[in-house]
C-alpha cells in the first residue's frame, strides 16, 4: 500500500526522523560508554589493581 502524507509530509517525516535520531543516539551513547568503562577496567587490571573479591575487574558475567 502506497503511503501518501499529503500536505503534512514535512511534519510527519520530521517527527519520525527526530525519533529515529534520538533513539539511535541513545543506543550509540550507551554502547560507547560500555566499551569505555570496559577499557578503563582492563587498563586498571593490567596495572595490577584487583578487586577485593580477587575477580577480574572487567568481568561482567
Amino acid at each position: 500500500m502506497a503511503m501518501s502524507l499529503g500536505p503534512y509530509a514535512f511534519f510527519v517525516v520530521t517527527s519520525y526522523l527526530a525519533a529515529a535520531l534520538a533513539v539511535a543516539s541513545l543506543i550509540a551513547w550507551i554502547a560507547i560508554d560500555y566499551h569505555h568503562q570496559l577499557r578503563q577496567l582492563r587498563e586498571l587490571e593490567e596495572s595490577g589493581i584487583v578487586r577485593r573479591s580477587g575477580r577480574g575487574a572487567a568481568e561482567v558475567t
Binding site: Y8, Y34, Q40, L41, L44
Partner: protein, 243 residues
C-alpha cells in the same frame, strides 16, 4: 536466582548479560510491527496524515512520566531501604527519560503546527511537560556536580520525590485547566475513544517503546555499575601510590 540476589551488582550484571540480547530482539520486532502498522494506518478524517505523529508522540509522552515514576520508586529505595542498585537505577534512567520527554515535546510541536496553527502554546499540559524536561536536566546536572556518589544519591533522591508532584499535574492538567491540548483519549473512564485502526498501532508502539526503555535502562545500569567499579579501583590505585 531470587529477587534479593539482584541487590548484588555482580549478579545483576550476570542477569543483564543474559536478558539484554532477548530484550533487544523483542524490541526490534515490536518496533518493526508498530512502524508497519503506523505506516499503513488510514488518515484521520480531521487530522489527516498527522495522526501518524501520534503513534510516536503518545508513547514518548507516556514514558516521560513513567520513567520519572520509576526514578521516584528508586529514590524511595535510596532513602528508605538504601538499596545498592536504587541510585544506579535512577541515575541510569534520567537521560533516557529526558530523551523521551524531549521527543514528546518535539513531536507534539510538529503535530501542533498544522493542527493548532502554532508550534507552541503556554497551556498547562505543554508547560508542565516542559518543566518535567527541565527537571530531568537539573537532576542529571546534580549527579555530575556532586563528586561523592552517596551524597549525590541522597540529594537526587529528594529532588526526584519533590519533582514527582509534577506527574499528577501533567496527567490532570487537561481536566483542571482549560487547555488547548485535548483530554485523555485512551486511559479514561468509559474506555478509549480511538478507532481500532488507530488504537492498535498506538498500543504496539507504546509497548515497543516501553521495551526499548527497559532494554536501554538495563544497559545503562550495567554501565553505571562498571563506572562505579572503575571509580573504586582508581581510588584504590591512588591510595596504593600514596602509601
Amino acid at each position: 536466582m531470587t529477587l534479593i540476589d539482584l541487590a548484588n551488582p555482580s549478579k545483576f550484571l550476570a542477569l543483564t548479560a543474559r536478558v539484554l540480547p532477548w530484550l533487544a530482539g523483542a524490541t526490534a520486532v515490536l518496533l518493526a510491527i508498530g512502524l508497519y502498522q503506523s505506516a499503513t494506518a488510514p488518515d484521520d478524517y480531521q487530522q489527516g496524515a498527522t495522526v501518524k505523529i501520534m503513534f510516536i508522540h503518545v508513547p514518548n509522552a507516556w514514558l516521560s512520566m513513567f520513567v520519572w515514576g520509576v526514578m521516584s520508586a528508586a529514590a524511595l529505595g535510596t532513602l528508605v531501604w538504601r538499596h545498592p542498585l536504587a541510585d544506579v537505577a535512577a541515575k541510569a534512567a534520567a537521560p533516557i527519560g529526558a530523551s523521551f520527554t524531549f521527543l514528546a515535546l518535539v513531536t507534539g510541536s510538529l503535530w501542533g503546527r498544522p493542527m493548532w496553527g502554532t508550534y507552541w502554546e503556554w497551556d498547562a499540559r505543554l508547560t508542565s511537560v516542559l518543566i518535567l524536561f527541565l527537571m530531568y536536566l537539573g537532576l542529571m546536572a546534580l549527579w555530575r556536580a556532586v563528586e561523592d556518589p552517596s551524597r549525590a544519591a541522597r540529594a537526587a533522591a529528594v529532588l526526584t520525590l519533590v519533582g514527582a508532584i509534577n506527574l499528577p499535574i501533567i496527567k490532570f492538567s487537561v481536566d483542571w485547566w482549560n487547555t488547548l491540548h485535548q483530554p485523555a483519549s485512551v486511559f479514561r473512564v468509559g474506555g478509549p475513544t480511538l478507532d481500532r485502526a488507530f488504537l492498535s498501532p498506538l498500543l504496539v508502539m507504546a509497548l515497543a517503546f516501553t521495551l526499548l526503555f527497559i532494554t536501554l535502562h538495563l544497559a545503562a545500569m550495567r554501565n553505571e555499575i562498571l563506572r562505579r567499579r572503575v571509580r573504586s579501583l582508581q581510588m584504590m590505585q591512588a591510595s596504593q601510590r600514596a602509601a
